[in-house]
């Protein structure tokens, strides 16, 4: 144990789990309140990944209960996902930097860190192991484990392992752990998180039971977004290290041309040819013959060539306009919704898609500035809204151009899908202001806002016509009375005549307005 060392400047190495044990606030486990919230998130997100990525409509159950003493909280999360191969379970839950998500596609977890941090935090605060029951789809058995971590060696410790024959068709994973946490303080966050998760997964049944709360979200669609595929890197997205590795793991006998076509996103024969010509590179050269400086040159050329195709969306899984609408409707119950899913775009070679929803009226309260719901790869972002690029875009937009005058019942939903979401930190709570992303969010919101404007204009015009009749009608008796006094003519007669003229005028205008509506 190093803390007891009295030697000056003793050099030594640290295991990753040890590092994160010492710096757990990096991953959001800074205090019992935050840790409880973070644990729920990590478990729910794993469950969603285990279902959605495989086109299984998720059934997620989350049960939180308070133990004795009351700062011990038990968390159980169950899903109907693909399950975990039983031989992998100890490592998946007991080793930092071990997992299945280190590939180029959109998923909720990417750092392979969250669930281990939850295990680690539970272990150091309560000393209790994590309990897992899982079965894969084709497996004939159900595995049950109790696992702890050997933090200094970054290895799992299996406390117990049971395997029994599966009688039902059940597949999925149930995880239960007991951790230190403050339910009272974390409650609002957790509820908010689950509500927002339900918004972005209209096809999921979510059941949540806490010590003093129960939330049930039934799916309002069985349609699911297409799961993402694993992609190849885009030439703009690589660096020297990556290029060097790509060259190394390939058959070093292949030619430069074949290498480019085989290893990179969207590079066909034509593009490969054009690039090599433009870059004055010999496409027939074998990889093994490239010198270090030639590799550096290749990289520079690849990064400055303007002829590559944009990255494709294969590896992304946006919700799509229909599903996003469903999600918004089920949580916000608005009067009007418009959703926009943009085409794929990219920054630094990473493909991304922006989806936006605008929800108006209904149960949305009047607010001075739009309510914002942010999502990244279907993860709701709760903290740090102030520094998120989406907030900045929303605040920058001149809403009056779209006939929105605050206070107004307006909510904006922004969903960013990317193989690499440009977060502002490991907290995964705010998206950084990358120019390309900012532009796409802005375009998406503006596109949606144009539809909103059309809707509001229509509503407004219909109202204006009725309002005109009301306004003028109410003055008719007054005008008739005054004219009667001045001229001695009958008041009723004057009033009748005036009403007659008004009717005629309204008929004419109503026709004209009708034309405009059909534009």
């Amino acid at each position: 144990m190093v803390v007891l060392s009295v030697l000056e400047e003793r050099y030594e190495s640290l295991s990753p789990s040890e590092f994160f044990y010492r710096n757990r606030e990096i991953a959001g486990f800074s205090n019992p309140t935050r840790a409880l919230y973070q644990t729920v998130r990590e478990l729910v997100e794993n469950s969603l990944d285990a279902t959605e990525l495989h086109k299984i409509p998720p059934d997620i159950k989350i049960i939180i209960s308070i133990k004795e003493p009351p700062d011990l909280v038990s968390i159980l999360v169950e899903d109907n996902g693909i399950g975990i191969p039983h031989e992998e379970v100890p490592f998946v839950f007991g080793r930092v930097f071990y997992g299945s998500k280190y590939v180029l596609r959109q998923s909720r977890g990417v750092f392979g860190l969250g669930i281990k941090m939850a295990v680690l935090y539970a272990q150091i605060t309560t000393g209790k192991p994590i309990w897992i029951r899982t079965s894969t789809m084709n497996s004939k058995i159900i595995a049950e484990y109790r696992i702890k971590m050997d933090i200094s060696r970054n290895m799992p410790i299996v406390i117990s392992a049971n395997f029994r024959k599966k009688r039902s068709k059940w597949h999925g994973t149930i995880v239960k752990l007991i951790t230190k946490g403050n339910w009272t303080l974390a409650r609002r966050r957790i509820e908010d998180y689950i509500r927002r998760t339900a918004m972005i997964t209209p096809y999921a049944d979510i059941y949540f039971k806490g010590p003093d709360v129960e939330l049930i979200f039934k799916r309002n669609t069985r349609k699911m977004p297409t799961p993402p595929k694993v992609g190849k890197p885009h030439p703009y997205g690589i660096d020297l290290e990556m290029l060097r590795r790509l060259i190394e793991i390939h058959n070093r006998n292949i030619t430069l041309r074949d290498f480019i076509m085989k290893c990179f996103e969207g590079v066909g024969e034509g593009i490969a040819h054009n690039f090599l010509e433009w870059a004055r590179l010999n496409g027939d050269k074998k990889l093994k013959d490239l010198s270090t400086s030639e590799i550096e040159n290749l990289l520079n050329k690849m990064k400055s060539y303007r002829g590559w195709r944009r990255p494709r969306a294969l590896s992304l899984s946006p919700l799509g306009e229909d599903l996003l609408r469903k999600g918004i409707e089920r949580i916000l119950s608005p009067e009007y919704v418009v959703t926009v899913t943009r085409k794929t775009s990219s920054y630094s070679g990473n493909p991304f898609i922006v989806e936006v929803g605008l929800a108006w009226g209904g149960k949305i309260p009047m607010v001075r500035s739009p309510i914002l719901y942010r999502f990244a790869n279907k993860i709701p972002l709760l903290y740090d809204e102030g520094v998120d690029v989406a907030r900045q875009v929303v605040d920058k937009i001149d809403w009056s151009l779209y006939r929105v005058k605050f206070p107004a019942p307006l909510a904006v939903i922004v969903h960013l899908c990317s193989t690499k979401v440009p977060f502002k930190g490991v907290g995964k709570e705010a998206i950084a202001d990358v120019v390309e992303v900012e532009k796409e969010i802005e375009n998406a919101i503006k596109e949606a806002a144009r539809s909103l404007r059309k809707y509001l204009t229509l509503i407004e015009r219909k109202r204006a016509l009725i309002a005109k009749r009301i306004t003028i009608s109410k003055y008719i008796p007054e005008v008739a009375r005054a004219l009667a006094e001045v001229t001695g003519t009958s008041e009723t007669k004057i009033a009748k005549k005036l009403s007659l003229i008004l009717d005629r005028i309204m008929r004419t205008e109503s026709k004209k307005r009708g034309d405009i509506d059909h534009e």
């Binding site: 109410k474 008796p477 007054e478 005008v479 005054a482 001045v486 001229t487 005549k497 005629r504 005028i505």
Partner: protein, 373 residues
């Protein structure tokens, strides 16, 4: 005696009723009723170089009952018309505030959402006053002629004999007091004036001081004040004395754009009431002072000079754009003001001693003809 009331009560009434009839005619023929009223904005206030007064231009606005933006004003106009007709019929002298109350009704109606709402025919007196002005323009009658009263501020004193309601009044025999000018100057006959000129001072306190010193007796003039922006009674009285007895009128104000503008209101009329200039403008009025150049001519000490505010400067720039401030001398004065950004009050002369104003400044300016016409 052009500006004396020459419309009898009956004439006025007929004239007003005629307007009502014209509106009714349109309605009878199922035509949307409308009123053509000359626009009372600055842009339709024209400077008439021949008569040297401000007049309303020819531009008219059509007030249509079935136009959403005009409907409320149309209603208010016919309402006010009926009130004035009623007062004339009954021989009453309402104030503009009386008319406001007389006409204020509550209209009930249901709004877009079927909710019962209330609206008053007018909310504030600003609204009803605006309509009174519209009716003055529409009928070409002044409010005084329609028997409408208002708060009058003017005071005068001097060798003037007037007759009103059978009384003969000698305005040189008011002691330390003065004659209070009423709103309806048209109901006064000016019998005789024995004076060389009329001196109008902007400020009431200066009037009292000069009256106490019997300035008007020593200098054989008529002394008047309108206390700041003059009311219509004061203006009409000044115009009548000047025109009926062929006397020049000298106006003494503070040296600032508001003082200059007060002078111009006496002489040419005001922008907001330009439609009545013909009957109110004192064309023989001259600006005696205090001019901006007086500040330097009379070497007024720095401590009495007040820094002009941005508002003053904006006002001076506005004056420079008015056609009636286009004489060489006014342009110079206003440019000097804008350049120096300095103003003074009449009382600043007290820095030279209490009697400087009455013994030196006023007589000297008149004698040397150092006024602006």
């Amino acid at each position: 005696m052009s500006s004396k009331t020459n419309t009898t009560r009956n004439d006025v009434l007929k004239h007003l009723e005629e307007i009502g009839k014209r509106i009714l005619e349109d309605i009878g023929k199922e035509r949307p009723p409308k009123l053509k009223i000359r626009v009372r904005s600055l842009s339709n206030t024209v400077w008439c170089p021949e008569e040297k007064i401000l007049k309303l231009g020819p531009r008219c606005a059509v007030r249509e009952f079935f136009n959403l933006r005009e409907t409320r004003k149309f209603m208010q106009t016919v309402l006010m018309l009926s009130l004035i007709v009623r007062a004339r019929r009954e021989g009453d002298y309402p104030t503009i505030r009386d008319l406001y109350y007389m006409g204020k009704h509550t209209i009930e109606y249901k709004d877009l959402h079927g909710k019962l709402r209330r609206e008053n025919t007018w909310e504030t007196q600003d609204e009803s006053d605006y309509i009174i002005q519209d009716i003055e323009v529409l009928t070409n009658l002044l409010r005084e002629d329609m028997g409408i009263m208002f708060d009058a501020k003017g005071r005068m004193v001097g060798k003037v004999i007037i007759r009103s309601k059978g009384n003969t009044i000698d305005l040189s025999k008011m002691g330390v007091g003065a004659f209070a000018i009423p709103p309806n100057v048209g109901d006064i006959d000016i019998v005789d004036v024995d004076a060389d000129y009329v001196l109008i001072v902007e400020k009431g306190a200066i009037f009292e001081r000069l009256n106490n010193e019997e300035f008007w007796k020593k200098h054989n003039c008529v002394l008047m004040t309108g206390k700041g922006q003059p009311d219509r009674g004061t203006r009409r009285m000044a115009k009548r004395i000047s025109e009926e007895f062929d006397l020049p009128v000298y106006i003494l104000t503070d040296s600032d754009p508001f003082g200059f503008y007060i002078y111009s209101v006496y002489k040419y009329g005001s922008i907001s009431l330009s439609y009545e200039s013909e009957r109110l403008a004192v064309t023989r009025a001259k600006f005696l002072g205090v001019s901006t150049s007086d500040i330097y001519r009379y070497k007024i000490p720095r401590k009495f000079i007040i820094k002009a505010t941005d508002r003053d400067i904006r006002r001076a720039r506005e004056l420079l754009r008015y056609p009636w401030f286009q004489s060489k001398i006014w342009k110079e004065e206003l440019s000097l003001f804008i350049k120096k950004r300095e103003k003074v009050e009449i009382e600043a002369f007290s820095g030279f001693g209490f009697k400087y104003l009455s013994d030196k400044y006023i007589p000297e300016k008149i004698e040397r003809e150092e006024f602006i016409d």
